[in-house]
């Protein structure tokens, strides 16, 4: 009988050995890190951590609201990143817990040195997640994670929500999670763009609860330019204007507001706006006999009118057609502008290499080595169709309605 039971229990005993990452640790023995910043200085990695202080955030019954900062930032340094993290145990009472790390901010100096060290630890270790959003910053990265954000309690969390909100509702930059950075850098082009995180406003950090007690803050966190990474190093920067069309070229657009000129003569300011609610981009590469690649990019988008500054009646189909044409032209212009910028920096951050690789796997091997240098030879043909699905509640501009009576 005992033997029978033992045999019955074997699978369960073996099951208990299976678990890879179990280790009992109480919640009040871990220090939850919500953001990390990586710097390279004097041949050493400097890693800064944003440590969450739970009591300061969760208003616990009994204890009154404490005037304690919600996070604590500190740095350690070492020859390798994990070594620097290991150093932290000399100054921390708790085990650092990276599973809830939301963002990693890399300084320009570290990005120029190469981000492969960071990617390596994220690929190797189970405690760090690939869903962490990555940012590059000019200057010290520690300053970024010291910054408090109004409304939000955990700054690291808030910055991730900021980029998610931006990518979903007004697509300028995609949310570059570590996973996507890895995919891009391991892909055929070995290039990617990572948004820059910057502190705008006065050089006065928002790092105390006192500084949040006013209605307007002296400085704030905002997204800046786009850092272009080639291989594993920072190669150059693209301005927001230059980067605006990249999302269209890479089929990343979620929702985005487009300004356009509605006048018939097309000479006025871009004082009307439409929102794109759905957009798809299709790539079709064509390899000609002389080895030149023509990339045909077709964009289909639809959206609704948000703001209209012209006196035309929107009940007339021609007017709607004209608006659609204007918006399509705007989108096309943005795409071409970004494309020229990509050609200028000779880095294929739009992933055309992958597209060509898929369509012409044999020829790609020959093209691959010189691909980024030969981007100028690539001919881009863009075709945008925009479909205005709604014009909103009114069919006339307000001023026009006022004048007609």
């Amino acid at each position: 009988m005992i033997k029978h039971w033992l045999r019955f229990m074997y699978p369960f005993i073996l099951l208990l050995l299976l678990c890879g990452c179990w280790n009992r640790v109480e919640m009040n023995e871990i220090g939850v890190i919500s953001a990390t910043a990586v710097d390279w200085k004097d041949g050493k990695w400097i890693v800064s951590y944003q440590l969450v202080i739970p009591q300061a955030i969760s208003s616990h019954s009994g204890s009154s609201s404490r005037s304690e900062a919600p996070v604590n930032v500190f740095s350690t340094e070492g020859a390798s990143i994990r070594q620097a993290i290991g150093e932290a145990s000399r100054e921390m009472s708790r085990k650092l817990y990276f599973a809830h790390n939301q963002i990693v901010v890399v300084s320009e100096s570290a990005a120029r040195k190469g981000i492969s060290a960071i990617l390596e630890i994220y690929m190797r270790n189970p405690d760090a997640r690939e869903m962490v959003s990555m940012f590059i910053t000019k200057g010290s990265s520690r300053k970024l994670i010291e910054q408090l954000l109004p409304i939000e309690k955990i700054p690291g969390n808030a910055i991730q929500r900021l980029i998610e909100n931006e990518a979903g509702n007004n697509s300028l930059y995609p949310d570059m999670t570590l996973y996507r950075v890895l995919l891009d850098l391991l892909g055929p082009e070995q290039a990617t763009g990572i948004p820059e995180l910057t502190i705008a406003g006065a050089d006065e950090p928002l790092n105390s609860l006192e500084s949040l007690k006013t209605t307007s803050t002296k400085s704030k966190i905002r997204l800046g330019n786009l850092a272009v990474i080639q291989g594993d190093q920072l190669k150059s920067w693209l301005s927001q204007e230059d980067a605006a069309g990249l999302m269209w070229l890479t089929d990343e657009v979620g929702r985005v507001t487009i300004g356009f000129d509605c006048s018939k003569e097309q000479n006025g300011p871009k004082n009307s706006a439409a929102i794109v609610s759905k957009a798809t981009t299709k790539h079709k590469p064509e390899l000609s006999a002389d080895g030149r690649v023509t990339m045909r990019v077709t964009v289909k988008a639809n959206g609704s009118l948000l703001e209209y500054a012209c006196p035309h009646k929107l009940t007339e189909p021609e007017i709607v057609k004209q608006i659609e044409r204007r918006i399509a032209e705007e989108i096309e212009a943005e795409m071409m502008k970004s494309w020229h910028a990509v050609q200028r920096i000779e880095t294929d951050i739009v992933g055309f290499g992958t597209v060509v690789n898929r369509a012409y796997p044999k020829q790609w091997k020959a093209m691959r080595t010189e691909w980024n240098q030969n981007l100028t030879d690539l001919k881009l043909e863009v075709k945008v169709t925009f479909n205005l699905t709604r014009v909103g509640f009114s069919t006339r501009n307000f001023k026009d309605a006022q004048n007609s009576e």
Binding site: R24, V25, M27, A99, R129
Partner: protein
Amino acid sequence: MFFGKRSKATQQPLSAGTTDASKSDRKTNPFTPSLKTNLDALNQLLGHSSDLSSRSLGSPLAPDITMSILYLGDLVDDTKLNEHVLRPLLSSRLQSDLRSNDLVELIGERVIEIGSTSVSVSLNECADRLLEGYCLLLIQEAACGLLIDIREIKVRQVSEPSAETVVRGAQISFNESISTNLNLLRQILRSPSLHVEEMEVGSETRTQLALIYLDGVASSDTVNTVRSRLQAIQISSVLDSGYIEALIQDKGYTPFPTIKNTERPDAVAGGLLEGQIAIIVDGSPFVLVAPVTFFQQFQSPEDYYIRFDIATFLRLIRYAAFIISMTLPSLYIAVTTFHQEMLPTTLLITLAAQREGIPFPGLVEALMMELTFEILREAGVRMPRAIGPAISIVGALVLGQAAVDAGIVSAGMVIIVSFTAICNFVIPQLNMAIAARLIRFLFMLLAGMFGLMGIIAGVLAVMIHVVRLESFGVPYMSPLAPFSWSRMKDTFIRAPLQKLIKREPHKVFQPDNKQK
């Protein structure tokens, strides 16, 4: 009905004589023609009990013959004794010159105004009947006695069900008397195919029990199994149907009940109509129903009285509550002490803030709170009704609020424990709820030691255990394992009644449903 059956049983020894092997040794104690000897012998048999009343009387029926009436004063109905036994005897206008045994028979047939009378020649039988509340008439020179059924059975009024309440449906429950219970059941099922087999268990208590089934609906194999298991019972006393449940259930230890008990006549009738077998035990308001599957214990009779959509919803809630009451504390322990990465960041921060300053590890904290609750619950059942509110206040305020304020336990743990406890009350069968309570502690220990992996191992072990269980030949997890589409209509969901009545009831509990 019950009395009719009963008198048949009393006649049995007369007709069957001494062929009844089991009692033959006690039957070798016959009457003698001497009244005094007989009285002494009976007094001897009943241990000179002080509540044995005897009275001699002379009847105008046969003025020269001494008669004696014996009864246990606490067990007989005085009115019946006076009005229907003594008065006819004392004021009989019948004259007879019959003597001895013939006179006894004559009195039984023509004088006594009671339905059930019988002549007995065995002193032992007479002693047994006296203990049941019969009175015994002895006559000078007769070597037999006349047993007259004037029992008075103390019965609690039939009342509302206390353990299984429903909003809609009959508000009546069984009581402690087997005859009342059979009466209630017959009132619902007036079918001639409702078979009742009575038997007696317990050498000291001689408890009556009735095996009930619907002939043609219940599988005869199952009926035979139940009957033979009942007959095989060797025990001196049976004080509740729980004894019978423990003695006839399938072999092998399991925390899961394989016999259902209910105090609702409609639930028993429903079970009988589905081919189950009911066992009523005298002295217990809880009637046993078998065979029963895991899923049937989550069904309430009310499921069939209310609309099918809400019945389905409630059923799913009960299953969910069962799973929660078994696993929630262990999941909480596992996630908060092993797998913090599984929680959303804000939830982790909230929970971590609550845990700041708590001196115990999560497992200890959970065990402490669970045990506290179990103690409170047991106190609630045992304590006198009058101090109930006091315990509630102590339980809710002192142990809940104060423990959190004092930083002994975290607020999250209090929520988890109380929600688990409430979920446990949702399960209609108390026995099933008890199984969940016990397994919860096992899971908590596993979670405290091995995290989610431990819980998975525990869940698998429980699953393997339940699919191996059988209740009187019916697989415990049917109709899920072995699977049956047609019976799914009344397992997780309760299909509309039109769909259900197409089901052939007697197919449900055939043991040959078993997968080979």
